[in-house]
Amino acid sequence: MVNGTMNGFLLSILIWLPILGGVGVMMAGAQRPALAKGLALLIATATFLVSLPLFFAFDTSTAAMQFVELRPWIETFNIHYYLGVDGFSAPLILLTTFFGVLVVIAGWRSIQQNVNQYMAAFLVMEGLMVGVFSALDALLFYVFFEAMLIPMFLVIGIWGGPRRVYATIKFFLYTFLGSVFMLIGLIYLYIQSGTWDILAWHDMPLSLAVQKWLFIGFLAAFAVKIPMFPVHTWLPDAHVEAPTGGSVILAAIMLKIGGYGFIRFSLPITPDASAALDWLVIALSLIAVVYIGFVALAQQDMKKLIAYSSISHMGFVTLGLFIAFAIYRKTGGVSGAALGVEGAMVQMVSHGFISGALFLTVGVLYDRMHSRMIKDYGGVANTMPWFALFAVFFLMANSGLPGTSGFVGEFMVILSSFQANFWFALLAALTLILGAAYSLWLAKRVIFGAVTNREVQNLQDINSREAFVLGTLAVAILFIGLWPQPLVDMMQASVDHLLQHIIQSKVI
């Protein structure tokens, strides 16, 4: 279907089409918003279509990198423009290009000022995020990883809510501080190995002490990004203040970069340190799952509630990844561990869809009422029946209803935790109760009940544009929930490869 020469540039196209397109959209000028929006939609759609071969032409039988591009970039420093995808990155890139289209549509009406800059920021961000997921040169990864902060910083700061400046600077500095420690680790690895090739680092022997320092450096970057308790505090602020599109990208894609970082860097480069320090990550994950779940229960603000719910759900990702070491220690096999890692990956993709959908749902209400407070709503189902259908469905998925994608990932992770420790599994399973509690209680207070005030009385139901966005997401969530096999197949080989890799000691 796709010929070989195109595959040779596919990832570059996915990176540079949106970035250069974004520059073009910016040049459309603030005076012509219609042109900017049309162009942005065209570019985002084209990018999504171009990304489809990542699914259809993807070879699921191998863990080797595919769609590889390798060119020298900074020769004196041995830095390469090195791209490629495996079973971990391909689904996340597809998720990125998919949301690239949705956020453009979602911002169609709600953004009124500087439309061209808004659309350009999202397109550039999309290209950079694809870059993060496909970079196999550590410095290239870092460049994308950091550059991504700039458009997000501007998006929150320009189109955000009243406390946007505080939120966006907090977001930027938190992430920046975390990543500079990783940078030092990366430079150290380069000095030791003479290459920035991440895959070469996977096979590089390192002493346990060095591994521990490197692990901490990586943890600083990715724990902030994912985010893990106790460095999660930037997330609720950023989410609450960001415009709908910003929240969607933040929750659906950017958080996944933290999880992806663990898979690409921490686990394979420092496996012994990961095994030695897995108790730390597992403990923090369980705290996130349980404590942050309770925090979510207490929120007055819908966006904040979803933000805390995201942190709690991302706890499953880190738990699923690091429980592998506990399982291996206990059983000596990796089959149970594979379930955990796959669960973490499914959870990432699924949470991308669900959290994105939830933020879009809140966005629909916010566009009409300009309030995110739960108390301002009540009985929305009476005036917006279609909207209520989608909202309740997404909230159900968020609480892990079987049949939705939310169930699959959580279930896999809980199942594998059982093999490690009963109590881990029990604590993790608490999320099924907590998640249901805060999600359904939110539904009860906002969607159901009697109409509480005149503004709710006057609400208009969703239009076809909004229905399209929410409907697409609903289909995706159902699809993964009912038939996760294609997704799992995609990552199977890579997961096995990763596990074989991390159980071998790299200590010299």
Partner: protein, 480 residues
């Protein structure tokens, strides 16, 4: 000495002659035709750049040649630094013209003095003896003292010129004192001979180390690193922005060359001693520069403290005394010059009709007044903060690599932590430009050449970052 040897200093002769020509021509020009002076100065830097490049040394990485009884050296490092000095001078003249015209200061003094200062920079870059170092240094210093006070009616300008003069003279005195001791200990003014003498008699000489301390003070003053930084904020603030443009960029290149030639070429065997001195200077600069910049509300003072922290990074690169270290340091100082010129160019752009843009709040709502210039300033700020893919990131990366390679991990950690703290004040400028409402609705108009120069400057900041390979290679090969 034959003719070919004399020609090694051809760019210097050109700049010297043209500085005199500019002074004389001005006497015969009516005030309305001052543009000729500008054209002459521009042509000078353009031709100087061409002559330097045609010298052929840029291609040949192995050769270095000396003249004037070995006190003047021409090598690849010098050529590269000079070419970038000319590029920056070209940008400076274009930015300055706009400022000088709108503040009715367009007199030939600026051009003549800045050409003399440029000559000093070139001599210092090529200095191979202590005498030449001192000559170059004083030529820069005396021209710049006068430039700072160039707006005669400005009290602040005169005040900061006085401060600069007093402190600068003291620093010169100290440097001279240190030089005299080194001369006493080694019996030569030429840097290679000094290196030879130190090698034969050993570095364990109290007189030498004593002299070294004073030399380091002189270098530190030239860089403006803590604790010899006191003049920087006052001079940056008091001087007209057209002059600050110059002070903050070109002489830094000369300071780097001086540090390299003096410390590595001349006193390389005292590496252990000067390494510790520079390390403390660098850390203090990075810490204090970044912390103090946060508290500033005046953009010029903020950029002054930011310079101090950047110069701390340049010193970090010098510490390891390795090829890679010097290369990274040189790369950093060039990159810093380019960013700094762009930043002050923006300050000039926002000044107009006799009112200088000094406060950070002058940047408020720039995105709504002119998204194009706001984007360029955004590039500069993110670059200074060290965010990829802007060139400032690659400069920091190289320095960090050099430092980590030398085993000074704690220095690298300190540097990056304070770089993050420093990111705050750069972000604050972005915040003013993008997140706040404009205070004035006045349209921002700039002449075509100004806009073009600023665009070129922005492209350099982005392009040198994304395509940094060649410049990095040139910097690295300059040191063997």
């Amino acid at each position: 000495m034959n003719g070919a040897e004399l020609l090694l200093a051809a760019p210097e002769y050109l700049v010297l002659v043209m500085a005199c020509v500019v002074m004389i021509v001005d006497l015969f020009l009516s005030k309305e035709r001052g543009g000729i002076i500008h054209m002459l100065s521009m042509l000078t830097v353009i031709f100087a750049a061409i002559i330097t490049l045609r010298g052929g040394f840029l291609m040949d990485t192995t050769q270095a040649a000396t003249t004037f009884n070995d006190s003047f050296i021409r090598d690849q490092m010098g050529d590269v630094l000079k070419v970038f000095s000319f590029v920056m001078m070209g940008l400076i003249y274009i930015y300055a013209k706009f400022y000088l015209r709108s503040f009715d200061l367009f007199r030939s003094d600026f051009h003549a003095l800045s050409l003399f200062a440029l000559l000093g920079v070139m001599l210092l870059i090529s200095a191979n003896s202590m005498l030449m170092i001192y000559l170059g240094l004083e030529l820069i210093a005396l021209s710049v003292y006068a430039l700072v006070a160039f707006d005669r009616d400005s009290g602040r300008g005169s005040e900061s010129a006085m401060k600069y003069f007093v402190l600068g003279s003291m620093a010169s005195g100290m440097l001279l004192y240190g030089m005299s001791m080194i001369y006493g200990a080694t019996g030569s003014l030429l840097l290679p001979d000094i290196a030879e003498a130190v090698r034969t008699q050993g570095a364990d000489d109290i007189l030498l180390v004593f002299g070294l301390v004073f030399v380091v003070v002189g270098i530190a003053f030239k860089f403006g690193v803590v604790p010899f930084h006191m003049w920087i904020p006052d001079v940056y603030e008091g001087a007209p922005p057209a002059v600050t443009l110059f002070i903050s960029s070109v002489p830094k290149l000369a300071a780097f060359a001086m540090a390299f030639r003096f410390l590595s070429s001349g006193l390389g065997d005292l590496h252990f001693q000067w390494q510790n001195m520079l390390a403390s200077l660098a850390v203090l600069s990075i810490v204090l520069g970044n912390l103090a910049a946060i508290m500033q509300t005046n953009i010029k003072r903020m950029l002054a403290y930011s310079t101090i922290s950047h110069m701390g990074f340049v010193l970090l690169g010098l510490l390891p005394d390795t090829v890679f270290g010097f290369g990274s340091s040189m790369y950093y100082v060039i990159v810093y010059g380019i960013m700094s010129v762009a930043a002050f160019g923006m300050v000039i752009l926002l000044s107009g009709r006799g009112v200088e843009a000094e406060h950070l709040s002058d940047f408020k709502g720039l995105n709504q007044r002119n998204p194009y210039y706001a984007a360029i300033m955004g590039l500069v700020m993110f670059s200074m903060a060290g965010i990829p893919p802007m060139v400032g990131f690659f400069a920091k990366l190289m320095v960090l690599k050099a430092v980590i390679e030398a085993g000074m991990l704690w220095l690298a950690v300190t540097a990056v932590v304070f770089a993050v703290i420093g990111a705050f004040y750069y972000l604050r400028v972005v915040k003013y430009m993008y997140f706040d409402e404009p205070e004035s609705e006045a349209a921002i108009v700039a002449p075509v050449d100004f806009g073009a120069a600023l665009t070129l400057n922005g492209i350099m900041i982005l392009g040198l970052g994304m395509f940094s390979s060649s410049l990095i290679t040139i910097c690295m090969t300059s040191f063997g």
